[in-house]
């Protein structure tokens, strides 16, 4: 598929899907169930608002979503209590498939959601969005309902920095523009059609989620894109402009660690593709500087991108979903 054609056919704006009644009719016609997953770690400040809006608008008013689940990594604030009080199903990640151990990372929560949640479509939305709105879910779910050939819909934000106060104007997409887009341009030019490949909001068909592995850390979005692309091609992707997203801003050093994790995931996938990279020889230590008065010292972070296997390989999953 030509990239320009893909961009024009597979890129949407949430405003195209304002008619929620029609969307619900389409969902019911297809007999699909839809789950909303909010992965959390200490999100007490924002989780209540997300649940209220999604539940009121997309469950009570327009029954588009069948369940709202919070998968929590062990918050030490009131995230789980608040989420439960406002009516979400709340799960501690460690309690799901406990026989497979507990790993720390957002990818772990996303993977366990595939087992725990019942929907034919799972929509993942980060829990730290200050300007949350129902469009963050229906804007991603709608293309899957109207386009059966699409399997994986990513969010992008055309005006992420348009907020006038309280957000630094360096807020969005630095890792994408400095690392991921150059890598995609070099090795997977078609994937540069994805405007924000690292966005944390996406809706995906179960048949795809159960077939792909989940790195538990920073690399989960990158690996998903590479794996879905390899298995189903560019036609499986869609992307929706959700206008504006206001969230916590990350420090450059944190983004450095994120970039390191993504790069390791990318290299591992490239090796699988046949490129000669010996991952055994690639360091898992990320080094950054800090200064004590006039002395500089290096701090080392070990960033190992552990992976969960495709859910379909887990016997308990096959039994639960009759696969």
């Amino acid at each position: 598929m030509k990239l320009n054609k893909w961009i024009s056919q597979n890129t949407f704006h949430h405003g195209q899907f304002w008619d929620l009644r029609q969307l619900v009719e389409e969902k019911e016609k297809q007999g699909l169930t839809i789950s909303l997953c909010l992965p959390t770690l200490n999100e007490a400040k924002t989780i209540g608002k997300e649940i209220i809006l999604f539940k009121s608008e997309l469950m009570d008013r327009y029954p588009l979503i069948d369940e709202i689940a919070v998968i929590d990594s062990g918050s030490i604030d009131d995230t789980r209590e608040i989420a439960a009080a406002f009516g979400a199903d709340v799960y501690l990640s460690a309690d799901i498939l406990p026989q497979y151990g507990e790993k720390k990372g957002k990818g772990e929560n996303l993977w366990k959601a595939v087992y725990q949640l019942k929907g034919d479509i799972i929509c993942y939305v980060d829990a730290d969005i200050a300007n949350i709105h129902p469009r963050f879910a229906y804007g991603l779910i709608a293309p899957l309902l109207y386009h059966p050939e699409m399997k994986y819909i990513k969010a992008f934000y055309d005006r992420p920095l348009a907020f006038s106060q309280g957000v630094r104007p360096s807020g969005g997409g630095r890792v994408t523009e400095i690392l991921v887009r150059p890598l995609f341009s070099l090795f997977y030019p078609e994937l540069t059609g994805l405007i924000q490949p690292l966005s944390g909001e996406y809706a995906v068909r179960r048949e795809v989620l159960e077939e792909i592995p989940f790195p538990i850390g920073y690399g989960v979005e990158t690996s998903h894109i590479l794996d879905v692309y390899r298995k189903w091609g560019m036609g499986a992707f869609g992307q929706t402009d959700l206008d504006q997203r206001v969230h916590r801003n990350q420090a450059t050093l944190s983004l450095g660690k994120m970039a390191f994790g993504i790069l390791r995931t990318f290299l591992a996938r490239s090796q699988a593709k046949g490129m000669t990279i010996d991952m055994e020889q690639v360091s898992s230590i990320m080094r950054q500087f800090q200064a004590h008065n006039d002395k500089y010292e290096q701090i080392e972070f070990e960033i190992v991108e552990e992976e969960r296997p495709p859910m379909i390989t887990i016997p308990e999953y096959r039994e639960k979903f009759g696969r």
Binding site: K49, I52, L53
Partner: protein, 393 residues
Amino acid sequence: MKNNYHNVEEIVADLPAIREACVSLSETLLANLVMLGEIPAPTFGEEARINFLLQRFSECGLTNTSSDECGNGFGIIPGKNRDRNILLLAHADTVFSERRDHTVSVHANHIHGPGIADNSLGLAVLATLPTLLDKLGFELDAGLILMGAARSLGRGDLEGTRFFLDNNKAPITAGICVEGVQLGRLSYASAGMLRGEVTCRVPEEYDWIRRGTTGAILVVNEVINRILGIPLPRRPQTSIVLGSIEAGTGFNIIPTEAVLRFEVRSESAEIVRQIASDLDDIMEDVTSQTGAEVTLDVIARREPAGLAIGHPLVKQAREIMSALDLRPHITPSISELSTMIVHGVPAITLGITDGERLHEQRETVLLEPMFTGLTQLVAVLLAIDGGFCDETE
């Protein structure tokens, strides 16, 4: 639950069931509050918020929704009796500018955000009411006019409400102004009010040696001293609120302009008029003494008016509040209530919940009391609808 009540006691008996229905719609109310609260609506800039309100009314199945040339938004639930209509009104504007971060935060027992109490919550209640009445299965005898009022605050001077009442053709039996806070508020009378802005300008060629070096600030200070010297009676209750002052740009730049905003409130129209006359004298006096240009711009006036404490609407509202363990705080109002009363519409103002930090960035409302406030509102509405608040000849 009954559809037709014979007296207020029967409504009071149903209060627990009404409250239960209110609680069951908590997500709808809170979602409306969050979404309305995040739409900026400075006075004269309420359009987006009113449009959202109208969209909510349409989604609730109201077929009669509209906005008027003054920017007010309406949703009408028709009643069986065309000669009776109840006006439920909440002002849509807030004191916050469009550029302010309007993000709303939801916590376990409270919500905060700019304008959330005054008056996003009042508007959210209006947006939720059609669904609530539907859930309760009430079909009202009177028509219900739900109005999001534009241009209320400050320089808006209740323009939206005045426009509607000046041009409305439908007979209005009674009105309720819905304010976000405070729960227990019961206003049935409006105070006399004069709201004004004093501007002090000193000429560029001002004689700094002779007049002192603080320029317009010194002049406005003199105005303030003179205002504080106006004798105020304890009865009828009278007060002068010095609300805001603006002057100057830095440490060493002599300001050439200063603005003082104030409000005079009194239970007596005569005293308001007397103070207005005193203010005119002060302006002239300070002008002649300082050589500065001192002008008074009167932005709004209200005549005191109100219902008697024994009016059936007030009496029934007190009875319902008492049944809900609410102690009525009787406060005179200077807002939409006064316009309704001046237009001959018996009206009261009710608050929905407890709140704090009014007009600050973290303006806060408590969640739990909201359902009592909403129950109170529905019960008073039913009492009006049943004719139990009508004045007997």
